[in-house]
Structure formats: structure tokens, C-alpha cells
């Protein structure tokens, strides 16, 4: 609490959070690859590349949004910050829709359970990350 309220620590805490978000992204990339490899070995090629596509559909918009939010100047004002956050969210949603649409219309055959399984797994990791990291992401 004291650390968060001290303006002198602002840069440090933000840098810490950025590092933690980058670690989360890296762990999600690694987990996508591991899950795809396991599914590919156990359920076949179609299930394997479907799982990989599910992971990529989550990761590409998430990484785009993270880059856009994290590269923002820390001195940016309140109104500009909100505008930038909402814009990045809109682009993330649009990108996800385009990727889902492209995969479902262009890739045949497809294994939906693998695709949605890995996609939902990635969402669950985002939910659980603050708990796994002892809520550091929200405390710092």
C-alpha cells in the first residue's frame, strides 16, 4: 500500500508489472506449444494443428494489446490512457473475430474440441496468473 502510494516508486512498480505480464505471455506461448505437441502425439495431426491454432487465436490479439498498452508513455494523461485502453480492446476483439472467421472458413478439416480446449486453457491461465503469482500483479 505504502509502496503503491509513493510516487517515487511508480516507475519501479510499473516496470515490475510489465515484467510479470511479459512472463505471463511467455508462459502462455510455451504452454500452447506443449499442449499442441501433447495433443498432436495423442490425438493425431488434425487435433494437433487445431490446438495450435486455438492457442494462436488467443495469443496474437493478446500480444498486440499488451504491446500497445505496455509501450504507452507513463506520463500519458487520464483521458488519453482510457482512450488508448478502449481502442486496444476494440482492436483485440476485432482481431479475435477475424482470426476465428479465417480459421473456420479456410482450415478444413478442423478439430473443434482441441481448438476451443486450448483457447479456453489460455483464458484460464490469464485468470489464474494473479493467483499463481501470489496476486503480485494486482498488488504492486
Amino acid at each position: 500500500m505504502g509502496q503503491a502510494n509513493n510516487p517515487n516508486n511508480k516507475g519501479l512498480t510499473t516496470q515490475k508489472q510489465r515484467t510479470q505480464i511479459r512472463a505471463l505471455m511467455l508462459s502462455q506461448i510455451v504452454l500452447t506449444l506443449i499442449a499442441s505437441a501433447i495433443i498432436w502425439l495423442s490425438a493425431g495431426t488434425v487435433a494437433g494443428y487445431s490446438a495450435l491454432l486455438g492457442g494462436l487465436i488467443y495469443l496474437i490479439p493478446f500480444m498486440y494489446q499488451a504491446q500497445r498498452v505496455l509501450k504507452a508513455d507513463p506520463r500519458t494523461g487520464l483521458r488519453q490512457s482510457v482512450r488508448e485502453l478502449y481502442k486496444s480492446e476494440i482492436w483485440k476483439m476485432a482481431l479475435t473475430m477475424v482470426l476465428f472467421g479465417s480459421v473456420f472458413s479456410l482450415v478444413r478439416p478442423l478439430e473443434p474440441f482441441s481448438l476451443f480446449g486450448v483457447f479456453i486453457l489460455m483464458q484460464l491461465i490469464s485468470w489464474l496468473a494473479p493467483l499463481i503469482q501470489n496476486q503480485k500483479l494486482l498488488k504492486n
Binding site: 503503491a4 502510494n5 510516487p7 511508480k10 516507475g11 512498480t13 510499473t14 508489472q17 510489465r18 505480464i21 487465436i57 488467443y58 493478446f62 494489446q65 499488451a66 498498452v69 505496455l70 504507452a72 507513463p74 500519458t76 494523461g77 487520464l78 490512457s81 482510457v82 485502453l85 478502449y86 480492446e89 483485440k92 476483439m93 479475435t96 473475430m97 476465428f100 472467421g101 473456420f104 472458413s105 478442423l110 473443434p112 481448438l115 476451443f116 483457447f119 479456453i120 483464458q123 490469464s126 485468470w127 494473479p130 500483479l137 494486482l138 504492486n140
Partner: protein, 78 residues
Amino acid sequence: MEAALLYLAGALVMGLGATGAAIGIGILGGKFLEGGARQPELIPMLRTQFFIVMGLVDAIPMIGVGIGMYIMFVVAAG
């Protein structure tokens, strides 16, 4: 008729999910503005937290979008 119902189902899945996300992100933005107005020195920290919580709020609608797209592009299209 069956295809029309499937398209309707897909649209409902995506639309209702988007409504929930809109309410959640709207509340989140409002709280961010309140927090930033009270303590402007915390804006960088609040922005990162906003980003994290936004990921939690939009998870279910994103899954809904995926399932809705699957219904429309794969199931309804045959």
C-alpha cells in the same frame, strides 16, 4: 429453417456475451477514471491493472465469439 435458427443462436451467443463485456468494461473504465482523478500519480499503475482485469472481463465473451463463429461458419454452413 434449421440454418436460420443456427444463425440466430450464433448471433445470440455473440450478442449477449458482448453485452456482458460492455457492462463490465464500462464499469472498469468508470472506476479507472475515478481512481485516476483522485490520484493522478497512480495512472501508470492503474493502467496496467486495467489491462489485466480487462483480460478477465473479456474472456467469456471471447469464448462466446468463438463458439458463435463456429456455429455460423461450420455448423450452419454444413
